[in-house]
């Protein structure tokens, strides 16, 4: 009697498990298909065993022309090469031209006053420690083609819509 009861209980459980497995497998099929189609899902696009040729490296934009910012808070882009620039505890190559005292000679844009402020908005004599590592926000650009289309719309365009 007991064993019959247990069997009676097990049957719906097994059915449910089978159904669940079926649903999971079925739901994965479109995901797998899109994984193969979508170029952004993976950069590899080849079997794991195949040693694919690496894409060409982009060339760094080095025209020294300032680019428009997409929004006011955007950190300005670096319009020149920065190969081998040393930014560490000992020295900051960027600041040899962009610091307050260096811009007269270098004629480079001075880093904004926000870089001299500490977390309490007190303006300090030198660059604040939290702003010291330039490449955290400022980056050069390359001539590489974008992998995906950029749909960003800036605020002026948005207001005119």
């Amino acid at each position: 009697m007991r064993s019959q009861n247990r069997q009676g209980l097990m049957k719906p459980v097994r059915h449910a498990a089978f159904l669940l497995a079926l649903i999971v497998t079925a739901s994965m099929v479109p995901a797998l298909v899109s994984f193969a189609e979508d170029p952004t899902a993976t950069l590899r696009e080849a079997e794991i065993s195949v040693n694919k040729e690496a894409p060409r490296m982009g060339r760094i934009t080095n025209n020294d022309l300032r680019q428009a910012r997409n929004y006011p808070e955007q950190p300005p882009l670096i319009p020149h090469k920065i190969r081998g620039y040393q930014v560490d505890k000992n020295s900051n190559r960027c600041l040899t031209c962009h610091s307050r005292s260096a811009v007269e000679q270098s004629q480079a844009p001075m880093i904004s006053v926000t870089h001299y402020m500490d977390r309490d908005n007190q303006v300090r004599a030198t660059v604040s420690a939290r702003r010291y590592f330039c490449n955290q926000c400022h980056v050069p650009q390359t001539d590489a083609k974008p992998l995906v289309e950029n749909t960003f719309v800036d605020v002026d365009t948005l207001l005119n819509r």
């Binding site: 025209n63 081998g84 040393q86 020295s91 190559r93 270098s106 004629q107």
Partner: protein, 195 residues
């Protein structure tokens, strides 16, 4: 007193004409011996003037040479590269000998392990770098100019920023290469010590 007598007898021998050797033998012998000694000296000197010699010591190989490897003076598109002596030893003979005599202190440093560990090297780095900056400031960046000749610089091929700086500061003689181009082949020491 006896030492004086020995010296005096040598002097008398040297000032007298040769008794057994012909004039031709002495002049030719002197000439050949001169070639051998001078050639030997210069060859030995040139061996110490190679990168292979420099990095045979771990002080150079593990510190400054390791840092050079990722820079444009070691690897670049055209494959023209600078080795240690190209920048650190003057090419002009008299200056080279003067520098080599100075370098005898580096042998002393090697024997007594002045910079035998990374820590000791970093500790002394500012002083060592300062010597090189002073040398290049004093000789108007001569070792840079052995390859980078201002006369043949095409400003139109430079980025606008570089062309402007070179026209404004280098052409006028206000600055020399090393004033702006510090730390291009090796990492910089703590620059706060400079002020």
């Amino acid at each position: 007193m006896s030492l004086f007598r020995i010296l005096k007898s040598y002097w008398e021998t040297l000032t007298r004409p040769s008794r057994y050797f012909s004039l031709a033998f002495l002049t030719m012998g002197g000439f050949i011996a001169g070639i051998i000694f001078w050639g030997g000296f210069n060859t030995a000197l040139e061996i110490t003037n190679t990168e292979k010699f420099c990095i045979s010591c771990h002080e150079m190989r593990d510190n400054v040479y390791a840092e050079l490897k990722s820079t444009i003076h070691y690897t670049n598109r055209s494959g023209v590269r600078a080795t240690c002596p190209d920048c650190h030893v003057p090419h002009n003979w008299t200056d080279k000998i003067a520098r080599k005599m100075q370098a005898s202190k580096e042998v002393w440093g090697k024997i007594f392990g002045t910079i035998s560990t990374r820590e000791k090297f970093l500790e002394k780095r500012f002083e060592l770098a300062s010597h090189e900056w002073e040398r290049l400031e004093a000789n108007d960046s001569l070792e840079c100019r052995n390859c980078h000749d201002f006369t043949y610089m095409d400003f139109t091929q430079q980025s606008p920023r570089a062309a402007d700086h070179h026209a404004r500061l280098l052409a006028t003689g206000e600055k020399t290469c090393i004033d702006c181009h510090k730390g291009i082949a090796h990492q910089l020491p703590d620059m706060a010590q400079k002020n």
